[in-house]
């Protein structure tokens, strides 16, 4: 909303400077955008919050100024001289959809001379950024900017059948607006029609055929109320937002419908001549039953934490236009809200009015806040621990968009088969589906770094993915699942990504107490290379085994697609399936004071045997004294080992919690290990 200071002076004499006015308006709720000198006038642009349509006109802003400066407010009372004819003989108004147009008022002036506006009117409109059209149209704009009630002027002779019909548009109905473009309307919109066709898009824009032109002699002045939703549907749906639609979306003062109509008639008679027909034609009725609001005197102090004297409360509310109802005393005081303040209907609303005029600087900033203990949630602990581990490992945290393109979304998700969920509008161009994995986004981020010559961008991200649950009755209440993921993309091979995945799990404490363990199984899954990827399965006592992660080397095809030229590995873990350990209190295990024994074992097995099976055999055979089982070397040599065989060199660290192991005991344990490996994977000890 742009205010002309010259114009404002018609209603209130502001004693201070423009800057002072701007400051006071700012501190009472009208945010300042800019101040511009226009000729001998000043344009002050203010931001009006959506609850204050009363300040979308100069009178409303003048009222604020009058309250802030304690100066009287002068609002004109237009009484245009009426002529001989009856308006009701010239036009019939019918409202077919009262829910979208509660009230419509028409006045008729015959015999106007359309021409240029006088300089004062041209200047005022120019200050607020509106071009002059002609004296009749300018009057409708002027009155709207004066009181906030939008008006429209029709060329009465072009209205067919002597009728105004307010109705919902028919689906697909065409309409030619003042800008001579043809629009296709929907049922959500409201039109003003004559006996035959739409002549205006209600509250938004007039029609080309009935617009005021140089030859217009008879004018119908429309002053009406339109509901916000149909106006918004038209303004947004057809990209036709106008000063009129802006105001109707916020709800002008219903009391201004008649005032604005009279004001416009008076100004038109003055500027364009003609004769005003007697009376007005009204359909519907103005819905305006101002609220009566109880306000016990102490309520203000209860909310603000600082008292405002009762006399001051009364002074502020009265100046703002609230009217005190008779009451028995301060505890039962009641106020009737003015018609232009439909945002005020509860005591809390009155408290805000008193506070914003009195000023929030009176509210203390030294109130006592009692201490209260808190704890981090398991999820928060989990997220932080995972981040600490990866930052500690040298990775940088990335943040990528939750919404991806069709090409990205096409990459399979490790977490579900259902297709990605579409959204509208797209987040950015082309990105219109919720991601089911963070991996494509992180690969793209690494590719972006390669593109600027940085080839060592090791990245991780902690964020959600979005999965549509299969459509079943059970899932009806929560059709979407939002797994919390940590993903990482690093240069290197499978072992590096697996090491990082293991570190995250270890950092979270997964499996530390033997209650749970992680199992790696080969998996074929985009964007990983075939034969170079695994799923990580959590096996937990008392729970079904569940996939908690995937890890692998990125396939050549995927690397090419994301602009990656070197070997890249990646992993993704379900933090929401790993957070169960976050708050686990485990009994401390006292480190043993007895010495450890190290034994190297060289096992020869078939090359198809997997380390995991060997490790399982060793672990189960060695029992509790096995402190560490480290794979030191894997080698193959057809001559020395035989074709199709491989050697696994394993270092076992053995330590007892209850005594020093003797050489014989260690030997027995190694023998048991070798025997178990022989039994399970046909391992042979190489001496």
């Amino acid at each position: 909303m742009i205010i002309s200071t010259n114009w404002l002076a018609d209603y209130v004499q502001v004693p201070g400077t423009d800057d002072d006015l701007v400051d006071r308006l700012l501190m009472s709720g009208l945010n300042h955008e800019s101040t511009t000198r226009v000729g001998d006038d000043t344009a002050i642009e203010i931001e009006v919050t959506s609850n204050r349509p009363d300040c979308l006109g100069h009178i409303g802003v003048a009222r604020e100024a009058s309250v802030l400066y304690g100066r009287p407010l002068h609002v004109p009372d237009p009484r245009p001289l009426e002529g001989a004819g009856e308006a009701s003989h010239s036009i019939v108004v019918e409202i077919r959809s009262p829910e979208i147009c509660p009230c419509y008022m028409a006045r008729v002036i015959r015999g106007v001379r359309v021409g240029p506006s006088p300089q004062w009117l041209v200047d005022r409109l120019a200050t607020v950024g509106m071009a002059s059209v002609n004296n009749v149209v300018d009057v409708t704009n002027y009155v709207m900017l004066e009181c906030g009630q939008p008006l429209h002027a029709f060329d009465l002779t072009r209205i067919r059948g002597g009728r105004i019909v307010v109705r919902r548009a028919a689906e697909g109905e065409p309409f030619t607006a003042i800008n001579h473009k043809v629009y296709t309307l929907t049922e959500r919109m409201c039109v003003i029609a004559d006996a035959e066709r739409p002549v205006a898009l209600a509250g938004v824009m007039g029609g080309a055929d009935t617009e005021i032109g140089p030859g217009t002699t008879d004018v119908l002045i429309e002053s009406a109320q339109f509901a916000p939703l149909p106006v918004r549907a038209a303004a947004r749906g057809l990209v036709l937002a106008s000063p009129s639609s802006y105001r109707f979306e916020r709800g002008p003062d219903p009391a201004m419908v008649d005032w604005a109509s009279r004001r416009a008639a008076a100004l038109m008679l003055e500027l364009a001549g003609g004769v005003l027909e007697r009376g007005s034609v009204i359909a519907g009725e103005l819905a305006s039953a101002p609220a009566t609001i109880p306000l016990p005197a102490e309520r203000v102090g209860e909310v603000l934490g600082v008292d405002v004297a009762e006399t001051r409360q009364r002074e502020i509310l009265t100046a703002l236009g609230f009217v005190e109802e008779p009451s028995a005393g301060p505890q039962t005081r009641r106020w009737r809200a003015p018609t232009w303040r439909r945002d005020c209907w509860r005591d809390i609303d009155l408290v805000e009015e008193i506070a914003r005029i009195e000023g929030y600087s009176r509210v203390s900033e030294n109130a006592v806040i009692a201490a209260r203990p808190i704890e981090l949630s398991p999820r928060e602990v989990t997220v932080r621990r995972a981040g600490e581990v990866l930052v500690g490992a040298g990775l940088c945290e990335a943040m990528t968009r939750s919404v991806v393109t069709e090409a990205f979304a096409a990459t399979a998700s490790p977490w579900g088969e259902t297709p990605p969920i579409l959204i509208a509008p797209p987040l950015v161009r082309g990105a219109d589906r919720l991601r089911r994995s963070l991996l494509p986004s992180l690969l793209e981020a690494r590719g972006g770094n390669v593109a600027v010559g940085v080839d060592d961008a090791d990245l991780f991200e902690i964020a959600r993915a979005y999965l549509a649950r299969p459509v079943t009755e059970e899932n009806a209440a929560s059709p979407i699942e939002e797994p919390l993921l940590v993903s990482l993309v690093v240069g290197g091979d499978f072992a590096r990504a697996k090491g990082l995945a293991d570190a995250v799990c270890a950092g979270l404490g997964t499996g530390r107490d033997g209650e749970a363990r992680l199992v790696y199984r080969p998996v074929v899954l985009e964007p990983f290379a075939r034969g170079r990827a695994a799923e990580i399965v959590l096996e937990r006592r008392g729970h079904a085994a569940v996939r908690i992660g995937v890890v692998g080397e990125v396939s050549k095809a995927a690397a090419d697609r994301f602009g990656l030229d070197a070997a890249v590995a990646a992993a993704e873990l379900r933090l929401d399936r790993l957070d169960f350990t976050a708050l686990l209190e485990r009994p401390l295990v006292k480190p043993s004071d007895f010495p450890a024994m190290q034994r190297d074992v060289n096992l020869v097995v078939d090359e198809s045997v997997r380390w995991g099976d060997v490790a399982d055999a060793i672990t189960s055979a060695a029992g509790e004294v096995l402190e560490e089982c480290r794979l030191v070397q894997v080698w193959q040599d057809a001559e020395r080992l035989g074709a199709g065989q491989k050697s696994l060199v394993v270092t076992l660290a053995l330590r007892s919690a209850t005594g020093t192991l003797s050489g014989e005991e260690a030997g027995r344990i190694v023998d048991a290990v070798v025997a178990e490996c022989g039994r399970r994977v046909n391992a042979v000890l190489r001496r």
Binding site: S50, I348, A355, Y360, S361, E365, I369, S377, I421, E482
Partner: protein
Amino acid sequence: MTAVPLDSFRADLERLRADAETALAAATDAAALEAARVEFLGARSGRLKAIQKSLGGLDTSDKPAGGRHFNDAKNAITAGLEAAQIRLAEASGGAEAASIDVTLPGTPVPIGHLHPLTRTIRRVQEIMGRLGFESVDGPEVEDQWHNFEALAISAEHPARDPLDNFYLAVARGADPLLLRSQTSTVQIRVMENREPPLRIVSLGRVYRPDTADATHYPMFHQVEGLLVEPGTTMAHLKSVLRLFASSFLGGDVRVRFRPSFFPFTEPSVEVDMEWGGRWVEMGGAGMVDPAVLEAVGYDPDAVSGFAFGLGVERIAARRYGVDDIRDFYRNDVRFLRQF
């Protein structure tokens, strides 16, 4: 055989100890040290061994004391020998190893970095945590109730326009779902499930269809605080925000309220904080609207509360001097490594 008197046994020990100290201190090379070791601690004919033999000649009642004295002396001489060995090793080692180019690079250790937005969020969480506010989290896909209705955003409010939100093609029955446009949704969820007193900060990603430019991005982060306790006033709100500002910005920062409008607070204010000598807009705040308290089943006559929201990108941009918030989402490690 006459028993050896304890006093003379002790005197022998003391003499031995003094001689050993002198000899060990005098040794300037490994050979001299070895000679001293053999003389005093030699297993076969060392002087200590000789004295040990006379231990057996003590009177039975004197044996425990004699044993203690003997052990003390033995430990002292052994420690002296070790100290002398270290002294000689250090003296010779420094001279023998080749000197190094100390300007050669150390073994590189990769340093990871948390994202500046995460750092900012953590800092807010940490400060608010000290004030008793607990961090909470909730779904990003929301329904009409939590994103709008419970927050007193009526069906007619422009914020609900389909063009101003990211609606999902998937619905829950007849209830359209959308990406949340604010984290107040989480506050509603917490209030629905818990009774006051309550102090929480909800944080996370939110989504609004803005064209991306230097100050807007269609996905951004919010931190929103909520306190609901009996007798809460705007003075509590202002005091908490001043404490926050002083802690976040450092020093004795002042806070200013300007009247504003949000559907879910009444009164509503914009919060300015004094930063670098001028007022900077930090976010919105207000007293929780009674309609919101009622929507979650609280009694507005029994409890009151306040809420505030901060745009994480905005305060992070200001704090770190980032002039284009899109930089937060470019994931250029040359940017990320600076935090």
